[in-house]
């Protein structure tokens, strides 16, 4: 079977996609036609404006179905996942005990001005997320949840003073690229302070991907739907690998 694929509507390679958007014009038949031509200019064919209407003075909203002529060769796609070592809490705890031989120190924070701790809390707090216990509950980890709005400088200072093994930086707010700026600032400061190689550096948030994380110089990135044991397994195995290499 070919690894070249297109979106699937109701038949192989029909290329069907759905789009919706707002245009800053009053609704009229001309507005519908403008939406159709705009989508055609995006490279789509068989463009059908299935809904177009006024939503406010000077604004119209459209729902459009169309076919794309583009395709992708799936065999060429590289997006390595950091979730490769599926392990349970008990397995991770005994792995840490055997391979590392001490408790692993993990600090997490919402860095910059971000006040949304929902992500970091889901990973660190005892309760966890989706029935998967948080890192606080692991015997193999000593965790520090620094909470929201932690300055990058304070996070790095904490890491040094507490000899932290792994740092989890969380960003939920992504407006105007603030997440990337903060993640970059943290990586750069760790580098400048000579701490980068001494920690497992992880970023997380609903818009984070592992690919983006590696581009920013992180060891891993965890996005939406991540459960604590996935982060725990990555920290434990990465740290154990490093210690093995150092010996």
């Amino acid at each position: 079977m070919s690894s070249v694929i297109k979106p699937y509507g109701d038949a192989t390679n029909d290329g069907k996609v759905q789009l919706s958007f707002t245009l800053p014009v009053e609704w009229s038949e001309a507005a519908d036609e403008a939406a159709r031509q705009l989508v055609a200019k995006m490279g789509f064919t068989d463009v059908q404006v299935v809904d177009g209407r006024r939503i406010a003075t000077g604004f119209s909203f459209f729902v459009v179905y169309a076919s794309t002529t583009q395709s992708i060769d799936f065999s060429t796609i590289k997006a390595p996942s950091a979730k490769t070592h599926a392990m349970s809490m008990e397995e991770i705890d005994s792995f840490v005990h055997e391979k590392i031989g001490r408790r692993v120190r993990i600090a997490g924070a919402c860095i910059g001005t971000d006040a949304h701790t929902v992500g970091i809390d889901a990973i660190l707090n005892m309760k966890g997320y989706k029935g998967d216990y948080g890192l606080e509950r692991y015997h193999g980890f000593e965790t520090f949840n620094l909470g929201s709005q932690v300055a990058v400088e304070d996070f790095v200072r904490f890491a040094r003073e507490h000899a932290v093994d792994a740092l989890l930086a969380s960003q939920v707010v992504t407006q105007k690229g603030s997440d990337v700026k903060n993640f970059t600032a943290l990586a750069e400061l760790l580098e400048a302070e000579g701490l980068r190689d001494r920690v497992v550096l992880i970023c997380g948030g609903p818009r984070v991907t592992n690919l983006m994380a590696s581009e920013l110089g992180y060891d891993a990135g965890f996005g939406r739907g991540t459960v604590p044991s996935e982060v725990a397994a990555f920290v434990a195995t990465t740290l154990a690998d490093r210690l093995a290499k150092a010996r």
Partner: protein, 518 residues
């Protein structure tokens, strides 16, 4: 529809809330904060910024001696007004510029200070009364659509873009517009100045931004023949200053919680208790409806487990608000639709909780918050969860309805997202308008048993808090599993004990006007 509830337990909860708030009230009466004092200056008309964009009220407070501060800024400032004959605004500017210093006037008799400020205090109250009367006149002439009042958020960072988004949302049916603040503003110990066009995750709350949005909403209110309310955030370190500016610019609602900042922003508890009291006295006088933040208990922990904490917090918020002279009609107690959508009968639990609040606080304009915690990038499922939230709201007669966005957890809403959210709410609330009146809750069924269990667990929690004292209970993580020490957290250095001669002419007059004793 009606839950059978034990009114004895409800009364007991109210008594426990009173017992919890009593000792805190004594503490509040003996202390003030830099934010309260800066509000006094703002009410007198002090405004503007000095060196390094520092607001003049901050510059004045920063330059007071400890003794002057303990007497209340009004005394020191009133002496300056008496001696110089300048208006408060001009004297503020002169102090900021360094041409006058309040320490030069320390010999002036107190009586002269009081007399010099009296006309300015009266002018401030007259302005607030005028603003309130304006709102009442408009609400009469431009009546709102029936509740639930559809509330949406704008948050671009640029007040002018926010204005465009707000007007579009109003045209689609929004009745309340909230301008979300830039993330982190709650931790600033000053209020930024002037119109702003940059912010992260929101737009700075400034008096100029309030004015710009108020004007835009007044215009669209007249055009559509219905009054549109404006909301901002009297929370964080500048709670009473925001309340002051909101009163001056005729905002209609403010988010204002007696414990939110302590638990979720690590703001010192003493600072928060004092600040919320003065804020609420002002809100009461200005006719501003507060929205409390119980939704936060649910977003940070499991919504089923936290239900009793939500109710307990509602009782405590109600009690604090009553003590600041607020009538029930201005106390918008919070709740949220945050139960895990995978839970069997989760919808029944949501109905139980919402109806419980409705019956226990019959005259409160309840604020119902949409699902956020379990919203993912799946906008289709999100839109569906929002529909059930909308149904719960109209069934149980919630008052202030924050429309859930299908793109929650993705981005600050697009203009089109808001319209889709409003249309969702309008459809459900129209098609099921009288559904709640037509059905009865099965006696002893899942909904009723759940509501009764939440109420009795709430009583247990309130008992525990009353036994420990509120401050100790917060330290012992009785709320939201968060522990905060009484002297820890942000803003504690801005709390001080009042001296014998402490004078706050606004507080005195507000207490007299409302019979609101601490």
């Amino acid at each position: 529809m009606e839950l059978r509830l034990d009114s004895g337990i409800v009364n007991q909860c109210r008594e426990l809330a009173a017992a919890i708030v009593d000792p805190v009230g004594d503490f509040i009466a003996a202390h003030s904060t830099v934010a309260v004092e800066r509000s006094v200056l703002r009410l007198l008309g002090v405004d503007g910024v000095g060196e390094d964009e520092i607001p003049v009220p901050n510059l004045i407070l920063d330059r007071l001696s400890g003794e002057e501060r303990a007497g209340g800024v009004a005394l020191a400032f009133g002496r300056g007004v008496a001696e110089t004959g300048l208006s408060p605004r001009d004297l503020g500017a002169a102090i900021a510029a360094g041409t006058h210093s309040l320490s030069d006037f320390s010999a002036t008799p107190e009586q002269a200070a009081r007399a010099a400020l009296a006309p300015h205090v009266e002018a401030a109250f007259a302005h607030l009364r005028r603003r309130r009367a304006e709102r009442e006149e408009r609400l009469f002439r431009l009546p709102q659509q029936p509740a639930p009042l559809l509330y949406v958020i704008v948050a671009s960072g640029n007040i002018y873009e926010d204005r465009t988004a707000a007007v579009a949302a109003v045209e689609a049916g929004a009745q309340i517009i909230a301008v979300i603040r830039s993330t982190g503003q709650s931790l600033l110990d000053f209020v930024p100045y002037g119109p702003t066009t940059e912010g992260f995750g929101g737009t700075y709350a400034t008096q100029a931004n309030f004015k710009i949005m108020r004007e835009a909403l007044d215009e669209v209110s007249e055009r559509l023949g219905r009054y549109v309310m404006l909301t901002n955030y009297a929370s964080g370190l500048c709670m009473p200053e925001i309340a002051t500016m909101a009163a001056i610019e005729r905002l209609d609602m403010l988010l204002n919680d007696s414990m939110y900042g302590i638990l979720f922003r690590d703001i010192n508890m003493k600072r928060t208790f004092i600040d919320q009291h003065f804020s609420r006295m002002l809100n009461a006088y200005s006719g501003i409806i507060i929205n409390t933040g119980e939704d936060n208990y649910l977003t940070t922990a499991d919504a089923v487990e936290q239900a009793p904490a939500v109710l307990a917090s509602q009782f405590i918020n109600e009690e604090f608000a009553h003590r600041a002279g607020m009538p029930d009609g201005q106390i918008g107690l919070g709740d949220a639709y945050e139960i895990n959508p995978d839970l069997r009968d989760g919808f029944l639990y949501q109905v139980a909780q919402a109806q419980l609040a409705r019956q226990i606080f019959p005259d409160a304009p309840l604020k119902y918050m949409p699902p956020t915690k379990h919203m993912t990038g799946d906008i289709f499922k999100g839109h569906l969860i929002d529909a059930l939230f909308n149904l719960t709201s109209v069934m149980t007669g919630q008052t202030i309805h924050l429309c859930g966005m299908l793109t929650e957890a993705i981005h600050t809403p697009f203009l089109g997202d808001r319209v889709l959210a409003i249309e969702n709410a309008q459809y459900i609330m129209n098609t099921a308008r009288h559904f709640g009146d037509e059905i009865s809750i099965k006696p002893g069924g899942i909904i009723e048993r759940r509501a009764q269990a939440v109420l009795s667990d709430c009583e247990l929690l309130l008992k525990r808090v009353a036994d420990m004292g509120l401050m100790n209970a917060i330290e012992a993580a009785a709320f939201a599993d968060v522990s905060r020490p009484p002297d820890g957290g942000r803003g504690f250095d801005g709390v001080f004990e009042r001296s014998e001669r402490y004078w706050n002419p606004f507080e005195d007059a507000l207490r007299q006007a409302q019979g609101a004793g601490v």
